[in-house]
């Protein structure tokens, strides 16, 4: 009597599980197809163009599909022009690194205290503060840069403020190749992208842990240094990556606030190459270069996201 009861479930389960598998794959199929066609394939096309030929007459790129026939001329051209006597690109790449590093350090200096304060705040004011804090996130990037273009013009409000009502005459042309303006523009543009993940991480900081450290005799600073910072290090790293990666490809901040070759970044090299005939391959080479530079931090970020939810953005 007991035998049919025991054997019945296994007889039903296999078709059920098989149907489930098919259902889930059918649901995921459109998304997978989309990513394959419009994400993976374009990245491959970039490779085919970088290692492809250029039409001698029209200066248009001819992609070479077979990896065995790839010709590295254009890529090595870019590589050999980074350092050495032909190092026209080296400066821009170095500048990009410096700008991105300084800008993200400033971002962290601003974003950490702000998100720490709002995350530790309780009560009614917190909702309002949080809303104000993430409002820039949904104001168009171009709008925010344009706001600064208005302020920083030669007769703009910023210069008027500096002159203190006509006392001084500061003759600073802010919008023509000032590295400080570009760096501060980057900070202004990308701080919201850092505040959001930082806030999410700091919000989950365990209060009992902080109280325990204070109870056990740590003072303010050492409690911060030895408990708070180690606890939210993954969050800080994730937030830094989320701001650095888009900054690496940024060219529009530069175009809006400086538009001068004195502040050219890698993003500008890509943008200029895309628009100039015959340089498509070089633009592609820069795209690959940025991709390779960004790959390691991207993989690090993805690993930390998929491993635990503590740094999920």
């Amino acid at each position: 009597m007991a035998v049919p009861v025991v054997t019945a479930p296994p007889r039903q389960a296999p078709p059920d599980r098989r149907r489930r598998t098919r259902l889930w794959s059918v649901l995921a199929a459109p998304g997978i197809a989309w990513l394959a066609a419009f994400f993976l394939f374009p990245l491959y096309v970039v490779l085919c163009i970088v290692f492809g030929q250029i039409d001698p007459l029209f200066r248009t790129p001819i992609p070479v599909w077979n990896p065995l026939q790839w010709d590295p001329t254009q890529f090595t051209y870019v590589l050999t022009h980074i350092v050495g006597e032909n190092g026209v690109y080296g400066q821009a790449i170095l500048r990009t690194f410096i700008y991105v590093m300084v800008a993200s350090a400033l971002c962290l200096l601003i974003a950490f205290p702000v998100s720490y304060y709002v995350a530790r705040l309780s009560g009614k004011r917190r909702g309002l503060l949080l809303a104000l804090l993430i409002a820039p996130f949904w104001i168009s990037y171009m709008m925010r840069m344009f706001a600064w273009v208005n302020l920083l013009q030669d007769d703009g409000l910023f210069n008027k403020m500096l002159s203190l009502g006509g006392l001084f005459s500061p003759d600073v042309k802010w919008l023509t190749g000032q590295p400080v303006v570009v760096i501060l523009g980057l900070v202004y543009g990308y701080v919201p992208y850092m505040i959001l993940p930082l806030y999410a991480g700091l919000d989950r900081l365990s209060t009992p842990m902080l109280e325990a450290s204070r109870d056990l005799g740590a003072d303010r600073l050492s409690s911060f240094r030895r408990v708070t910072l180690p606890l939210c290090r993954p969050t800080i790293v994730a937030a830094l990556l989320l701001t650095c990666l888009p900054m690496l490809g940024d060219y529009f901040t530069n175009d809006m606030l400086s538009a001068s070759p004195k502040t050219t970044m890698v993003g500008n090299l890509i943008n200029d190459g895309v628009q100039a005939p015959g340089q498509t391959g070089q633009a592609g080479a820069f795209v690959m270069l940025v991709f390779l530079i960004a790959l390691l931090p991207m993989l690090y970020y993805l690993r930390s996201v998929t491993r635990g939810s503590e740094v999920a953005s």
Binding site: V114, L302, S313
Partner: protein, 292 residues
Amino acid sequence: MRGPVSWWNNPWRPPRFLIAITIGYLLWSLLPVLIAVLYSFNSGRSRTTWQGFSTRWYWGDQTLSVWHNDALHTALLQTLKLGLIATLITVPLGTLFAIGIDRWRGRLPNGANFLMLLSFVLPEVLLAVALLFVITTVAVPVQLGTTAQVIGLVTFQVSYPAVLVRARLATIGPQYEEAAMDLGASPLAALRRIIVPMLLPAIFASTVLVFADVIDDFVLVRYLSGDASTEPVSVKIYNTARAAPTPALNALATLLLFAALAAVVIGFLVYRRMTRGDNTADRGLGGFTGEA
């Protein structure tokens, strides 16, 4: 006697330094934008000197205002069009993808998940240039313009609903679905009648966020726009910001700003209504933006 030492050691003193830096940050981040909004109501041509209030740059001026100038209102319409179409494709695609990937085990779904996350962190300019190359050098039946822009935007944004929906699936857990199937529902019926209704707030939130993000996008839509008629607002701002524009450009940017903020605010209020009485969902701003 309260010296500086006892002041420093007092655990209950207000965090003046943090308050100062927060207020300073808010002023610094919002004031320039507010000033730009203010000058969109300037009655003169200047974007730096206040000459009195008017709505001239919105509809008053017969040739230069947003309402009357073809180029400007085409840009606004293109932005809204892209926002609607891209959102309508992105959200179902991402939601189905997330549900499928969440349950389907194997190499292929793992790889697809990795690709999805990669598209989330890849610098946008790389994807934009790659798509531009595909359209200009490969014989594909897609022209630069609205179609190309939508394809690019969907590819870049699809990870947003996918991440949000997967996070929500993780908090729902398998028990509701198992209960439904124990009571005789097929997997599809359990999905349709139990899981999708529970996912609705997350799906809705991602709809709002994707829309707000798409209408603010710049890099992709610029490279993939064919000509001036498919250039949305952000590209218009970029093209004319340094070429002595009139406050009509401020007005255009302001309209875009209000569109994005209205979408987010209304979306958040609806989200609060949808999750009323639901104690498994985070009902705060954090839950809405998927950051908690």
